[in-house]
Symmetry: C2
Subunit: 80 residues, 2 copies
């Protein structure tokens, strides 16, 4: 089973990477870019095949390691 | 219109961040982690409302700035 995890900055948290992308896109001539936010995308292959157990495991991974819960949100999807 | 873009390392390209996560998850006691790959997740809000035009714009953004086509793949979804 594979977990596809997104870790994104919470609303209101400054995102310098997103700002850098936004400015560079403008400099390259792309019009109509309103807002850019950059986050992390993590794919984890798990040996666990039970969806409920895999979900609990991924929740714990996010809370303990992958996301900084003060400034980041996470969400994930499980695919088999 | 919003573009949700994933930029991931190509198969076979060394992923030290993924490896670091994998080792740390093991050290934290998580069993059954087979493989971890880390990529980037970028959300861009566009003023463009035409899906075809927005798609072309995002393709160009990925090729010119967001992804290093030598070592990375990209894919995206447009949501309105």
């Amino acid at each position: 089973m594979k977990a596809r995890i997104h870790v994104t900055l919470k609303q209101g948290v400054l995102d310098p990477q997103g700002k850098a992308i936004s400015h560079t896109l403008e400099a390259l001539g792309f019009d109509g870019v309103e807002k850019v936010r950059q986050g992390k995308f993590i794919e984890i292959e798990l040996t666990e095949t039970d969806e409920k157990k895999a979900g609990e495991q991924v929740e714990q991974m996010c809370k303990k390691l992958l996301a900084n819960m003060v400034i980041e949100n996470y969400d994930y999807k499980l695919v088999s």
